[in-house]
Amino acid sequence: MSGTIVDNNASSLSIPTDIAGHMLDLDDDDDLEVFSKDTREGSSFNASMQTSPGSMINQYKFEEEEEDIDTKDIFVTVDDPESYVTAIETFITYRVVTKTTRSEFDSSEFEVRRRYQDFLWLKARLEEAHPTLIVHPLPEKFVMKGMVERFNEDFIETRRRALNRFLNRIADHPIFSSTEDFKIFLTADVGALTSHKKQGPGFLSRMGESVRGLAATVRGVRNRPEEFTAMQEYVEAFGQHISSLDKVTQRIVREQKEYLEDLKECVPTYTLWSNSEEELAEPLRGMASCLERCYKETEEQVKELNDNLNPTLHEYVLCTETLKTVLRRRDIIQAEFEAKTEALLAKHADREAIREDLYKMEDRLEWANNALKSDWTRWKKVMRTDLRSAFMDTAEKNVNYYEKCLAVWETFLLSQRTDAEGTQVLDSS
C-alpha cells in the first residue's frame, strides 16, 4: 500500500504503487534543506532519505511545542443539523463552514452540507492514503447502550459535536489538512463530491491489498523494532485504562440520574408538610425551594458530564482501536518486506527484479515507520491536551455546581437565623 505525498498538484485519484516516482517532483534544493533538518541518527538509509517521503513529513514540523494559534490558517465548524427528506430515505445533514487563508483554496470562506456518510468516506480515504498515520475516530453509527434513536435531539447534538471535533483534528493535522480529499470535502458541492467519491480506488486494488495483508499477518513480523513493541504495550495498557474511565464515568452519570429521581420526591413532601404547619410552614417551604434549586443544579452537572467528559473518553476508547490498527498495518508492511528479503534467498529467484522491489519496500517501510513515529508523538500531545482539558472542565463544572448549591443553602440559613428569635448568628465554619 502506498500513500499520497503532500503535494497539492498530485492527484489523489490514482494510487501509485511506486513512491519513487513522486520523489522526482521535488526540488533538489528543498531536499537538501530538509536533509539538514533531519535529526534522526543511526539511519542507514540517509542517502535515500533526502528524497524519501519520510523526510517530507519532517518538513511539516511535528514539534514538541504547542501549535501556536496564530499560525493556524484554517478554521472549520460543523453545525446546524437538519433533516433531509427524500422519497427513499431520511437523514441528517450538517453544515460545514470553512474559513481559511490558504492559497490552495479558491476562496476564503466555504459553506457546504454534509451527511455522516460523507465523513465516513473522508476518514476511509485518509486512512487508505496514510495507513500508518493516526486518524481521529468518528462517532459510532449507532449507540447501542440506552437505545438512542437516530433522530433524537440529544443524539444528534452529541454526534454533531463529535463530527466537529473530528474535522478539527483533521484540519489541525499537517498532512491530512493538505490532502485533496479534505479540500474537496470542505468545498465541493454535493454533486461534485458524489462524482469525486465514485473515482475511488478500484475494488481490485483494495482486494489485492487485503490478500497481501492477510498473507503477511499469517507470516508475522520477525524483527519488530523495540519502539513499536513499546508502543503496542502502551496502547494495550492505555486502552484498558481509558475504557475503565469511560465505564466509571458512565456509571457516575447513571447513579446521579437515580439520585435526581429520589431528590425530586423530597420536594413535594416538604411542601405537603408545610401545609399542616403554622410556625414551621415558612422554613419548610424554604427547604422545599432549596432542594428544588439543588435539583436543577445537579441536573445541569450531570448534563455536563454526559455532554463533555463522556464523549471525550469514549472517543479515546475508539482511538485505541485506531492505534492498534495503525500498528498492525505497519507490522504488515514490515512483514511483506521481510518476506521479500527471504524471497531473495530462494534458489530460482529473479534476483534483479526482487532487488528492485526490495528497495521500494524498504523505503516504504522506512517511510511508514517514520510517519508513524512522528504522528505518534503528535497524537500523544493531542491526547494529553484533550484529556487534560476534559478533566479540568469537569472539575471546574463540579466546583461551580457546589458553589451554586452553597449559595442556596447559605441564603436559606441566613433567612432562618434572622427569623428565629433569640438565636445568635453563629459563624458558618
Binding site: A237, V248, E255, Q256, S276, E410
Partner: protein
Amino acid sequence: MADSGSEDIAVIGNTDLTPSESENNIKNTMVEKGTNLLKRMEISVAEAEKRTGKNAVNMQETYTVYLVETRALDATSEGTTPVPDSLWRRYSEFELLKNYLLVTYPFLVVPPLPEKRAEFVWHKLSADNMDPDFVERRRVGLENFLLRVASHPALSNDKIFYSFLTEENGWKETVFETGFQAKADSRLKALNATFRVKNADKRFADMKHYGDELQSVISQLLRVRARAADRLYGVYKVHGNYGRVFSEWSAIEKEMGDGLQSAGHHMDAYAASVDDILEEEEHYADQLKEYLFYADAFRAVCRKHELTQYELEMAGQDLTSKKQQQEELATGTVRTFSLKGMTSKLFGQETPEQREAKLKMLETQIEEGEELVKERNAECEEFVKSAWVDIERFKEQKDHDLREALISYAIMQISMCKKGIQVWNNAKECFSKM
C-alpha cells in the same frame, strides 16, 4: 457478637461525647431551662455495653445495657466536679418507665423512646440491632429521652422517674407496685370511644388530625431521604474508581503521570468524604424520627380526651335513662318501649311494695349517677385544661426543635458543598499539571 461465657462484657461505646452530641445536650437543656430536675442534676447516658445472660425462659441471650449517669449540679458551683452516680439499664427498663409515665399522665405528651428496631435505613448494614452505629445512635436517643422527661415541668417531679435514675436494684418492683397497669385503658375501650363520642372538643379533633398528618409526612420524608442517601453514597464511592484508574494509568505516562497520580488521591478523598456527610444526615433523620414518635404520644393524648369524654357521655346517658325509668314508674306511664314494660303489661303489674322498692333503688342510683356525672365532668374539664397546656408547650417545643433541625441540615449541606469545592479545586489543579 459475644461468645458463650455468661458474663462477657465488651465495651462498645466510649465516654466521650462528640461535638454534635454535646450540642444536642445543650440544646435540650436550653429548651426547658428553669425546670426543676435539670436544675439540680446533670443526666447522661454515657456508655453502652454488651452483656450475655440467661433470660426468663433460661435461654442464652445477648443484650445491651446503657450506663445512666447522674451528677448533682450544686456541687460543681464549688469548683469541684464530683464523681457521677451511675447505674446500668436495659432498653426494656426504659420502655417500662415510658409506659408507666404514659399511663400515669395521660394528659401529657410523653417523650418517645428511640426506635426499637432500625427502620428507614439507607444502608443495609445498620439494620442490625447489634450494629455499633445503631447502638450508638440509640444511646444518644435514650439520653435525649431522659433529658426531655427531666426538663418537662410535670414529669420531672415524678418519683418513679427519679428512682429510675438513682436506684438500680428493685426499681422494677417499685414500678409494678404502683399498680399502674391496672389503670391502662384497654385498646377496645379507646377504640369504642373514637367512634361514639358526640361532643369531643374540636381542638382535640383538629390536633388528632394534625398528629396523623405529621406522622404520615415524616414517614414519607424518612423513606425518600433514605433512598436519596443511598444514591448519593453510590455517586461518591464510584469516584473512588477514578482514583484507582488514574493511579494505574499514571504508571505508563511520563509527563502526565504526576498530575494523574495526585488527582487520583483527591478522587479517593472525595469518595471517602461521603461517610461523614451521611453520618450527619443520620443525625437529621434521628431528629425527624423523634417527632415521628412524638406524633404517637400526641395522638394518645387526643384519644384519651375522647375516652374521658365518652365516659362522661356514657354516665350522662345512663343517668338520663335512670331518670326516665323513675318517671315512668312514678307516673305509671310508659313513654318508651321497654321489655320490662311489656312483660309487666302481659304478665300483670307489680305489687305496690315492689314498685316502692324499685323507686327507692332508682333514687339511690340517680343520686350516685349524678355524683358520677359531676365527677366525670370535672375529670373531663381537668383533662382538657391540663392537656391543652401541655399541647401548647409541645407545639412550641416542636416548632423550635424542628426549625433547629432544618438549620443544622442546612449547615450540613453547606459543609458538604465547601468540601466539594475544595476537592474539585484541588483536582483541577492536579489535572492542569497533566
